[in-house]
């Protein structure tokens, strides 16, 4: 009987896998994939063959050899040595890339700090402050960045007084001069013994860190708080100050001086740079403020109430309880805003700041005419930056996830 039952089970009808070629999922999936792949390959081949044909018909050469040939134009703002007529297109690419990174860095720092401030002010208890911040955010988020950039350039920085009537914004010391040719800064020249001051400053920083560490230990042990603000400040100012005075003040300034029709000496930043930094900072600070606000609101109300209940002041509630918990929600959108800042700095082309797009991809392209290579290189540059930033973001996300729970 038992044996019978077993054979019965074995004999019981099993769903037989019928292989229907047209209905089989695997066959279909492979078919669709091959179809897509062949269409894409055909498209790629079609485009490439057309391009080579067109290039041949127009007698244009291909390849990256042009990068070492000399470029005959100058950049109005550069961070490395470059002489037009001697430097190569490779140098032009590097100048443009550095300029993009340089301006993005400034815009990112300013917009992040300012955006944070605005995001916190937006949630202020003060009705008026909150509404004014709201108006700021809505106005600058809803106006195209390009209009803002052009406005700051043409409407503000180009309308500044001429060189003869330069404004001094450093209260009479002639170190920061602003006119319609840009901003002129005095550049420090370090003397031989300046390193002593630098070392003293580093020692002071280490000292302050140690004091803080000790104070934390003490507070953890006994709950006693040590006021550190005054002592740290004193240490930070006095130690390098004394070192500076003892070594005979080894620091002088390269001042911008009016010679003929323009300023010579110091560092100069063109109006296009200023306009771009201001416009990018304002636009992106409004965007960052929104993500900061959303992040802070994502922290549950109970955290705020509990912190108030143990007697923390509103400022410390924000700094010690709310912001640290809001960070995981704030940072990812903020980093993607940084990414957008880098990408939007390409709008420099509208006002002629020598970034990679306007210098390499427009002027360079007009001169050398290697459209495919030059546009490709510019895109590759941005892709590289974007990949690096998303790599950064992934690292942050992983760390936050480990800390959490």
């Amino acid at each position: 009987m038992a044996k019978n039952a077993e054979t019965d089970i074995n004999k019981r009808a099993r769903p037989v896998e019928k292989f229907d070629f047209f209905q089989d999922q695997r066959v279909r999936s492979i078919f669709y994939q091959l179809l897509t792949l062949s269409i894409v390959c055909w498209l790629g081949w079609y485009l490439i063959s057309n391009t080579t044909e067109n290039l041949a018909a127009r007698g244009m050469s291909t390849g990256f050899g042009f990068l070492s040939s000399t470029a005959g134009f100058d950049a109005d703002f550069k961070l490395i040595e470059y002489i037009p007529g001697k430097g190569s297109y490779g140098d032009i690419f590097i100048i443009g890339a550095l300029n993009t990174l340089f301006i993005s860095f400034f815009a990112i720092v300013v917009s992040t700090l300012f955006g944070f401030l605005l995001g916190v002010l937006r949630l202020s208890n003060n009705w008026l402050v909150s509404k004014v911040t709201l108006a700021y955010i809505e106005i600058f988020r809803n106006i195209p960045l390009l209009i803002q950039i052009v406005f700051w350039y043409i409407g503000v920085f180009s309308l500044l007084p001429v060189v003869r009537k330069t404004i001094d914004i450093s209260f009479g010391s002639d170190m920061l001069l602003l006119n319609n040719r840009g901003l002129y800064l005095a550049t420090p020249i370090y003397g031989e013994l300046f390193w002593v001051t630098a070392v003293a400053f580093a020692a002071a920083v280490v000292g302050v860190l140690m004091m803080r560490y000790k104070a934390h230990r003490l507070q953890d042990k006994s709950g006693e708080q040590t006021p550190l603000m005054l002592r740290s400040l004193l240490l930070l100012i006095a130690l390098p100050g004394v070192a500076f005075a003892l070594t005979g003040a080894p620091l002088s300034w390269d001042m911008p001086v009016l010679e003929g029709f323009n300023f010579v000496g110091g560092t100069s930043l063109p109006p296009s740079f200023l306009a771009l930094v201001v416009a990018l900072s304002i636009y992106h600070s409004a965007q960052i403020a929104e993500s900061v606000r959303a992040g802070i609101l994502s922290v549950s109300r109970g955290q705020h109430d509990a912190a108030m209940a143990i007697g923390l002041k509103p400022g410390r509630v924000m700094a010690l309880v709310i912001i640290p918990q809001a960070m995981p929600a704030i940072v990812p959108p903020m980093i993607s805003q940084w990414m957008n800042t880098v990408k939007n700095s390409s709008l420099a082309i509208a006002i002629g700041y020598a970034d990679i797009v306007s210098l390499f991809m427009q002027t360079g392209l007009n001169q050398a005419g290697h459209a495919v290579e030059m546009v490709g290189m510019t895109m590759a540059f941005y892709m590289f930056i974007s990949l690096s930033i998303s790599w950064l973001l992934n690292i942050y996300n992983k760390r936050v996830q480990l800390v959490e729970r």
Binding site: Q33, I147, F151
Partner: protein, 442 residues
Amino acid sequence: MAIITQNKTPTRPAPLSESSVLGWMRKSLFSSWFNSALTIFTLYIVYITLQGVYIWGFADASLVADNRRACYDNSLTGACWAGIIDWLDNIFYGRYPREEIWRIDLGALLLLLWMAPMWMRKVKGKIWIGITVVAFYPFLAGYLFAGGDKGLFMQLMIAAALVALPANLINMLLGLYKEQSLGQLLHTFCAKFSRDEKVQRNLLLALVVLSIVIAFVLQYQWQEQGVSWTKWGGLFLTMSIAGIGIAFSLPGGIILALGRRSKLPIIRVLSTGFIEVFRSVPLITVLFMATTMFPLFMPEGFVLNKLTQVIIAVCLFNACYMAETVRGGLQAIPKGQYEGAHTLGLGYWGTMGFIIMPQALKHMIPNIVGNFIGLLKDTTLVSIIGLFDLLGMLRSISRDVPWLGLHKEPLIFGAIIFFIICFSMSKYSRHLESKLATGNKN
């Protein structure tokens, strides 16, 4: 120690009510000395700003003047709006022939008429309205704006649009006054002739074909004078580019997002690569690619005009951004929805089309509208590569001889136009979000 005192505590005055004006002010403006200082400081800044704007933009502004010099003679500290008023037609329509401007107005009016039922609660079949707008309106409007000769495909699409538009209007009127839809009406109409469903369906089909044939014959006579794309400009061009971009980027983005979440590795890798490449570069490089590289891509003798190149670039670029938004919506759908759809026996397209997509898109409405706003703002970039969109037109005011050097006012005017459009769009999307919230958020 006695906790209870012998004397009665004196009654304190009632606290200032927070709902009264004074109480509200005390609570939200002057709750502490710091807050009071902040309030006064902010008030001062607001006052300075508003006063400056009022004096420059209204009190001292010149509205009527022949040229910039006359503006300055009128007042030195005010805006010169006269230049804007003089150029108003150019700002809105570009260099479109003045006697043909009615075509643009008509196109805008048709779009409004077509879209109006979307906002009416009583009208049914909103999905169909949306589909017909995206599928047929661009062709009708495209011919209306561009004119010239039309190919057979164009004629068919125009005929279909000419059927869809009245159908849509009838549907709207029926919904408003009889509370039924065109579909129901046709159904009852067909049911009068025969009970057989097959006959009914054939009858309906015949009706549609007949109306399309009539529309085709009607439109065959319709001939508009051709207007070259180089004459397009101003707000009209901005809206055209943004409109085509919006109409294409949503379906394109949905397809790319589905591709990126597909189980088929090759399709997934291709879609992911495509999306990531376009998302990691700035739009201006894509536009440059379109204008410098597209001519090389095309076979010899085939010339795309600049407007088409730009539109293709804008569409590709925004489809990739839309894809990421849609993907975000897809990720928010719980797995149970997919499993439920499978148990019902729905296939891939059935699951996606009937179960997943409607929820995902509803979830993502604010982000999708945010994307549209971004697209609209991004269209200003086409002025860099030499199209005369709104910004391009505004900037060319300063090169017009009577208004030489008039920069600020046009830019501020453009900013106001964009602000009005973008701000109302974002407000509307927030309103939609709260209206569509089904209450299953925890």
